[in-house]
Point group: C2
Chain length 416, copies 2
Amino acid sequence: MGQSLNPVVTGLRSSAIRDLLAVTRRPGMLSLAGGLPAADTFPAERIGQAVHRALEADPTAVLQYGPTEGYPPLREWIAGYEAARSGRPVDAGQVVVTAGSQQALDLLVRTLAAPGDLVVVEEPAYLGALQAVRAAGAVPVPVPVDSGGLDVDLLARRLAAGLRPAAVYTVTTFHNPSGVVLAPARRRRLAELAERHGFVVIEDDPYAELRFEGDPLPPVRSWSDRVATLGSFSKTLAPGLRVGWVVLPEALAGPVVRLKQAADLQTGSLGQAVVAELVADADWWQAHLRGLRVAYAARAVALHEALTRAFGGRLAVGVPRGGMFAWGRFVDGTDTASLMPVALDRGVAFVPGSEFFVGAPDRATLRLSFATLPPDGLREAVGRLLVAHDEVSSGWSRGSREASSSARCTPSVPAS
Amino acid sequence: MGQSLNPVVTGLRSSAIRDLLAVTRRPGMLSLAGGLPAADTFPAERIGQAVHRALEADPTAVLQYGPTEGYPPLREWIAGYEAARSGRPVDAGQVVVTAGSQQALDLLVRTLAAPGDLVVVEEPAYLGALQAVRAAGAVPVPVPVDSGGLDVDLLARRLAAGLRPAAVYTVTTFHNPSGVVLAPARRRRLAELAERHGFVVIEDDPYAELRFEGDPLPPVRSWSDRVATLGSFSKTLAPGLRVGWVVLPEALAGPVVRLKQAADLQTGSLGQAVVAELVADADWWQAHLRGLRVAYAARAVALHEALTRAFGGRLAVGVPRGGMFAWGRFVDGTDTASLMPVALDRGVAFVPGSEFFVGAPDRATLRLSFATLPPDGLREAVGRLLVAHDEVSSGWSRGSREASSSARCTPSVPAS
């Protein structure tokens, strides 16, 4: 251009997962990479009927400009849902319907953090969160995740030592990418830390309804009003509708809505009306969610069993209890970024764990989604992954450090 | 919150027009305020059929995550349309489908301007542009509009004197709010200035197809690749679909797409598929556009005639040649911000011109949209405006400077 662009934006990396979308569409490719919901669970016929009903009932409400805050019946439903699960009142005035929860994240980070401000993220972290934090010119500060979710004790020590983040971002339930759930005691502690240290918790909870067993956990918002809770219909209805939401602390509603005016005026009314129609039929909606849980639980089991059978002790991988992801770690020294191009050649895609790290990556990790493929496809994909792994391993055992280091320097995923 | 928020965001003003949406929904209110398209022109039935066809043909394409850049068939159509009207090649890779053209504006300003950078805007300016510029932390620099559009000669002198903007934003055709069209010689000159001084022109052209007479003008992009052209289906199909676009200089495509990943991952697939279905039927699409032009031309004439009859020489207002807006100026000393609350009491809404100014406002101006109401409604609205005007005028002629100044201090539009 011969013009200096905003360095914050030119410095953004493309999401490896978004880039992989193109690769995973190659004929014959089996993808464990993206968090793409199972297409056969999309209620296409119901969605078509809902469009028809909404257009019949009030075409202007669906097609004309509408309020920036969102379609009123949908905001009311979301307020009721979030109040019920948190045990705290939610006024519809605190709810903003967004273009997926990704937009809520972008708007929140821009509102809370001025350029140079710190935002705590998990390590490993959701890639979209890293992008939103960096796009706002804020600085992601990683705090590790363990089997109980974000290490809130470590966060407390760092806060006591003087860390002053504008916000703490966490995927509380069936974490992306690690699959773990933030333990109840940690949820409460995190809320207390927000109150004491004056930051806002950005609680991203798109997988809460995809629980295969046990009772739902109260969200972090149950213990504090200093929490913005994000939700989405992308995992439970269809991502193409682009309907998510945020429940905001009251003081943030005004600034976030004004920023959304600047960002896109409003979320699409047709998508909002469709969602409002569908969730209004509570019996259908609950049956639909039960169906999703059964389908994803079967896929999670199929992936886990296939991985265990294929790799035995060479791959440490937990049994997913919900959500869409299994997080694995090779204990045989496999570098998953080196495994990646070989796996793509063998017709299987996954995301190397290194993509999710802010600090020094654990290069033996990988994220495997069980959401996109049916059980047979998952088993076939794991078979291909094993072939690729054995090829890399044999090369590795023969191989030089040079080969390994050159593999590190090539992009781990193709640029789109 | 007891927490400092990003001052750039807390400093944003709500759009007067967005706030007025709530007021204009009061029963019996006649609105000349928002740029709301005529609801009776929305092709609701065709949209319903298009949804049905898209869901039948390929439900996954409509409901699953899709490419950040947009739905491929729609990008191809937009590339063809923009190539044809500019006489320059457009590759689909330069096209990004956005959530209305407002999102394109937000993404572009964030990409081009770092905080503190300058962005030239028109005076008076589109409010959404001011919001996007300010939300990015950039500084709007107003350059006046006259009957030939942006005063490009004045811009040239300011550039020669050292002004170095990151971008120049202009609504080229049937300007919002003033209704004027950027003259062809100025389009060419603006493109030359962009080449010489190394800025990007953000050419916002949502009203190009709403031309009541004469031939379409070539866009600024016809003369330079340093132009990002924004378009929208909000004015020609339905705003609730939230489908707009930008044709980008090649060097900007990568950064803008990465920023869009962070902002919302992608534009809604359902809306994009509907639009692609509708415009693919070229005969229907052209007939639909002809119908819009006839309907809006009749409204423009009705509004202009009613204003002339009601106010005579007291109101200077041009005959709209396209678009959605008439821009008026009272020559009898009426302060339109003071007129506004009285007009709302009388059941008619408009936007005081002062809302559109960055510098010292011309307080006698007002923007009147002829798009929303049918001719009878427009005539009734003007009648109510006359009653309000006469009330304010008689108060004004009696009134004190104190009364006038206190009216200035109260918000000119109700906060939502």
